[in-house]
């Protein structure tokens, strides 16, 4: 059950050598420091262009059998399109995350990378989402609409019928793409 409503879950666990584990941990600490200082990394900006992702995580883990990179994400749509978009839009980001992992092809050409992820993804045994029928775009639009609606509500109270009707119609026109 890897899908719920509009959402798909993907989980991939990739073995990696000790040196790549150390490299990733150092890179993740550096990215975290940048984020805490309010500075945005290029990989972060590029990843946010992928507007069908709600959450994506890359986590290094040390187990008795070795070191692994755990990748998991929740996104809208089909897994193949998701992986392809990742490879094409965040090419350098993907290299930065998986280049040293064992057996992972580079993101370009897409076919080999896509085949690797599709082959290695683990079946999901139980999946839950709190808002299954809403996509990432729908959630972002709704949150923006909520703020704009609150601002309009504050403005409406003192207006007469004609002025409030004009304000409501203007609100609907301005927010057409969010509704």
């Amino acid at each position: 059950m890897e899908t719920v409503g509009r959402w798909t879950a993907i989980t991939v666990i990739t073995p990696m050598p000790r040196w790549w584990d150390a490299t990733l941990r150092a890179n993740f600490r550096r990215l975290d420091r940048r984020r805490r200082r309010g500075r945005r990394s290029r990989i972060m900006s590029n990843l946010e262009r992928l507007s069908f992702i709600s959450f994506a995580h890359w986590s290094p883990v040390r187990l008795p059998s070795g070191r692994y990179l755990v990748f998991q994400s929740n996104f809208n749509g089909a897994a193949k399109q998701y992986v392809e978009a990742f490879a094409r839009i965040v090419t350098w980001g993907m290299r930065g995350l998986w280049a040293g992992a064992t057996g992972v092809p580079g993101p370009l050409p897409v076919a080999a990378f896509e085949a690797y992820i599709m082959d290695q993804r683990l079946p999901v045994d139980h999946y839950y989402c709190a808002y299954p029928e809403a996509s990432t775009k729908m959630v972002l639009a709704a949150l923006e609409l909520r703020e704009r609606h609150a601002a309009l509500q504050r403005r409406l109270a003192p207006l007469d019928e004609a002025a409030s009707a004009a304000a409501m119609r203007a609100f609907l026109t301005d927010n057409q793409r969010r509704i």
Binding site: T11, A56, S65, G66, T102, D125, M138, M168
Partner: protein, 170 residues
């Protein structure tokens, strides 16, 4: 602010099938036991059948992955809430893992936290929105869509009443 937790617990030898059957038997959607923990955005249980590098001939160990995005102030608070709200299901799932403390209590929370995966690197599309805020915003969006349709039929003097009916009082 949405936070994440990922836990990998080793599955006891010969328990994989029983665990898979137990997970397959859990109800889905809003009947999922995980729906009983308010503030859960997404959650999953995944069986990782074998974790060892391909060139390593050593013994294979299967793992249970539990991954969740939540609104609680930290992972401990989330797991304590999970213990309170689904003690039976949590016990039925994790009793198949090595080191399960035998009861869903504070020792269980400590045991899961000891198997936590380092957070690493994350991207979150709506980091500051809680589940309650998202659901409320989606419901408002649906009401506004209904109002937008109705508004086409109404003259200006009826619009305010229609707004109250569809969207809510100012």
């Amino acid at each position: 602010m949405a936070r994440e937790l990922c836990v990998l617990t080793p599955i006891l030898p010969d328990h994989r099938e029983a665990l898979a059957a137990g997970l397959a038997g859990l109800p889905e959607g809003e009947a999922s036991p995980l729906a009983r923990v308010p503030g859960t955005h997404f959650a999953r249980w995944v069986l990782a059948p074998s974790l060892r590098p391909p060139m390593d001939p050593g013994r294979e160990t299967a793992y249970l992955v539990f991954a969740v995005e939540f609104d609680h102030r930290n992972a401990t608070a989330y797991l304590e809430d999970l213990c309170r709200r689904l003690p039976e299901e949590a016990g039925r799932v994790w009793r198949h893992c090595a080191g399960y403390p035998g009861a869903v209590d504070h020792l269980f929370v400590s045991w899961l936290l000891a198997h936590r995966v380092d957070p690493g690197f994350s991207i979150v599309a709506f980091p500051s929105a809680t589940v309650a805020e998202i659901r409320e915003a989606l419901a408002l969006r649906a009401r506004l869509a209904a109002f937008a349709l109705a508004a086409q039929r109404f003259p200006a003097e009826r619009l305010r009443q229609a707004w109250r009916e569809h969207v809510g009082a100012e």
